[in-house]
């Protein structure tokens, strides 16, 4: 059970710049991503633009999350009490290993060897499927995209649409070759029409739903005052899992708690419009403990820490825990749009992943991710709960730089220190400017500089750089406005 497997951070994925390079070389991936993110961006803008109080809703969503995070202990205790009162059982898991142990134990106790799963970031984060497999239990993903990823032995590359990196032709091939291995094979003459592919998935999963005795889900939110848990979905696989089996096990990050049922009025408006760009997703299921004669007879809620309290302890980084997993930030990110999700090497890709992954995993893990952003700010604008992702990125960059201080400084750190020295006084800057101008004259041809060696090689491979002018602005000012030459003024 302790064999190494994927968790928040995936094994064997290089640092972002290298992983991105191979992703960028995949032209089919680039085309799939461009089409998909372009489509969803337009839908989101239309859906959010429809509400003239969208900014007020965002402000309320951000404030509710802030309230929760600042008083998380109290809300967790209240949630536990409410779930117990409703007839559910609550488990507390400090980390992935403990959560996996709890879930495996619960499934084993039912005597079942098969579980159906609703798409859940939390169970991906802890590598639950692998842990269950090690205990001889097979977990069947029932969300279409998760099924695609599972059949392909692949990794998810998007929070909402985990198979966004796959085009329809690839999916058809995958269904034809692999569906039979795990149950009902794909129908003969399967086309690559998404409707036909969805139908194949429907037929493949139908028996599994009807047979299932145990389901594992995540949760989009949990209301502390009532103990109500909610799952937001589109396909109906969630309803199947939440309704047909006898036992339901829900694994939920501790940050998903909301103060009250009434607060759903904010999040049920923010989430679908930000996520799929719909006014409302097709299905939202909410349950408050087990209900006699309707759905599972036993309900277990597993509350997962797994790095969340460490994240909570940073007053700046804490806001990343407000994330409602809508994935709007991925869809608007210029970096994500080009590289896709795999380059981030984490269950949580894109801008939110770049701030969440290093915090959940601790310093030193995923250290290239906070730098995988142009800081363009599109993610912050799109975020329905106003997580200032650029602020957290820059904050984590500083933590990363500070962690490297005291050891042998890297060339970058030396350059930064040198630059800070030059920029620390107008005299030193002016001297440097004269040196730059001289170097520029040596390197430049017809006013611009072409290819350069060293750290500038990759920059200059595709970009010319203008030759530095012979006279800086400050030198010109002195000459024209103060009547002194630059050399004199420097003294």
């Amino acid at each position: 059970m302790n064999t190494p497997h994927d968790s928040v951070v995936w094994l064997g994925v290089p640092a972002f710049p290298e992983a991105a390079r191979s992703a960028l070389a995949d032209t089919r991936l680039r085309a799939n991503l461009r089409k998909a993110t372009g489509t969803i961006r337009e839908k989101r803008l239309a859906a959010t633009g429809e509400l003239d109080d969208w900014e007020e809703l965002r402000a309320a969503g951000a404030a509710i999350k802030r309230r929760v995070l600042r008083h998380l202990d109290r809300y967790l205790e209240q949630l536990e009490e409410s779930v117990l009162r409703a007839g559910g059982t609550v488990h507390w898991a400090a980390d992935a290993a403990e959560a996996n142990r709890i879930v495996t134990g619960l499934v084993t106790a039912t005597g079942e060897r098969e579980v159906v799963k609703v798409k859940s970031m939390a169970t991906q984060e802890i590598g639950l499927n692998e842990a269950l497999a090690a205990a001889g239990i097979s977990a069947c993903e029932t969300d279409l995209a998760e099924l695609i990823v599972q059949l392909a032995g692949d990794r998810p590359s998007h929070i909402l649409v985990p198979a966004i990196h796959r085009g329809r032709a690839e999916i058809r091939e995958l269904f034809r070759r692999r569906m039979g291995d795990r149950g009902r094979p794909a129908p003969h003459g399967l086309s690559d029409d998404p409707a036909d592919l969805a139908e194949a998935a429907r037929l493949h999963l139908r028996d599994k739903f009807l047979r299932a005795k145990v389901a594992v889900s995540g949760a989009n939110f949990a209301c502390a005052d009532t103990g109500t848990i909610g799952v937001v979905e589109s396909e109906g696989n969630g309803r199947m899992c939440l309704t047909l089996p006898d036992t339901l096990i829900t694994v939920m990050g501790i940050e998903k708690v909301l103060p009250s049922f009434a607060d759903l009025e904010v999040f049920l408006q923010l989430l679908p419009r930000s996520s799929t760009g719909e006014r409302m997703n097709p299905y939202t299921s909410m349950w408050t403990g087990p209900v006699a004669g309707d759905g599972p007879r036993s309900f277990h809620l597993v509350l997962l820490d797994n790095g969340r309290t460490a994240t909570l302890s940073d007053p700046v980084g804490r806001q990343a825990l407000a994330c409602i997993r809508c994935s709007a930030c991925l869809n608007v990110c210029p970096v994500y749009e080009r590289t896709g999700g795999h380059a981030y090497g984490s269950v949580y890709p894109g801008p939110i992943g770049a701030v969440l992954t290093p915090q959940l995993m601790g310093v030193g893990q995923a250290s290239s991710l906070p730098f995988a952003s142009t800081l363009c700010g599109a993610c912050y604008d799109a975020c329905p709960v106003k997580i200032d992702i650029p602020e957290v990125l820059v904050h984590l960059r500083a933590a990363e730089v500070d962690a490297g201080r005291g050891v042998l400084p890297k060339p970058e750190a030396l350059a930064m220190k040198a630059a800070a020295g030059l920029l620390g006084s107008p005299r030193r800057l002016a001297a440097a400017q004269r040196a730059v101008a001289m170097t520029g004259r040596v390197l430049a041809r017809r006013g611009s500089i072409g290819r350069l060696p060293g750290p500038l090689a990759r920059w200059s491979a595709t970009r010319d750089t203008p030759a530095p002018p012979p006279e800086s602005f400050r030198a010109w000012w002195r000459r024209t406005h103060t009547g002194t030459s630059a050399a004199e003024a420097d003294r």
């Binding site: 089409k35 489509t39 509400l51 003239d52 109080d53 007020e56 309320a60 509710i64 802030r66 309230r67 600042r70 008083h71 998380l72 202990d73 809300y75 967790l76 205790e77 488990h91 507390w92 898991a93 400090a94 279409l144 649409v161 198979a163 998404p194 409707a195 592919l197 969805a198 429907r202 009532t226 109500t228 589109s234 396909e235 109906g236 309803r239 939440l242 309704t243 501790i254 759903l264 009025e265 049920l268 679908p272 719909e278 006014r279 409302m280 997703n281 097709p282 299905y283 939202t284 299921s285 909410m286 408050t288 209900v291 309707d294 759905g295 820490d305 309290t309 460490a310 302890s313 007053p315």
Partner: protein, 215 residues
């Protein structure tokens, strides 16, 4: 287990050392300046339009029995699940077999049924959403999930403008299902496909009679 619980709560409290000890949750302000509703005057008309946007079949009538019979006939429904508590007289006798969930139907029977007729406890106009709470005329959740055709008949009086209004009138101790159109997926190239695991056809009949029907 309780050891894990207290250790986790301890870690949460330690992480919140910067929060003043005397701060209460209500001290963190939540601006509630957003609208209670984005719907205009014609709530029922909006509800119908928005549901139709999702690809649901929507019609309005003041004669539900005739509209239901016509819909079931048009679909050539062979067997129809009818939950307890549906208003008397909504379903006329016809060439369809009525399946009652008493005693509870096995899953295979639910899966084999050609349709289900239910009502909804509420409708949300702005989002085109039906709300089911397993109450009278809706039955347990599986009834409206497994058949491929869901015919939902909603009295116009139960339709509210928007999400905040509907939540204020729901009791969360019942299992709640919000249905907005037929099941759908956008998992392949973000192309929306209607009809996956939930009912592939959603038909909604709005009953334009201000009065609640007798159960």
């Amino acid at each position: 287990m309780s050891g894990g619980r207290s250790a986790m709560l301890r870690r949460v409290r330690a992480a919140l050392a910067d929060v003043p000890a005397d701060e209460r949750p209500d001290d963190v302000p939540v601006p509630r300046t957003y609208r209670r509703s984005h719907a205009g005057e014609d709530v029922v008309g909006l509800f119908a339009d928005r549901l139709a946007d999702y690809g649901a079949h929507v019609s309005r009538t003041s004669d539900p029995a005739t509209a239901i019979a016509a819909a079931v006939t048009r679909r050539s429904v062979g067997s129809l699940i009818v939950p307890d508590g549906l208003p008397i007289g909504w379903l006329r006798p016809g060439p369809w077999r009525v399946l009652r969930d008493d005693p509870p139907l096995p899953v295979a029977a639910l899966d084999g049924a050609s349709g289900v007729l239910s009502t909804a406890v509420a409708g949300i106009a702005v989002t085109g959403t039906l709300v089911l709470d397993a109450g009278p005329g809706q039955g347990r959740r599986a009834l409206t999930l497994l058949p491929d055709y869901h015919l939902c008949v909603v009295p116009a009086a139960r339709i509210v403008g928007d999400v905040p209004e509907v939540l204020a009138r729901l009791a969360p101790d019942a299992p709640l299902t919000f249905v907005s159109g037929p099941s759908a997926t956008s998992d392949i190239e973000l192309d929306r496909v209607e009809g996956v695991h939930g009912p592939r056809v959603l038909e909604v009949i709005i009953v334009d009679d201000g009065k609640e029907p007798p159960a």
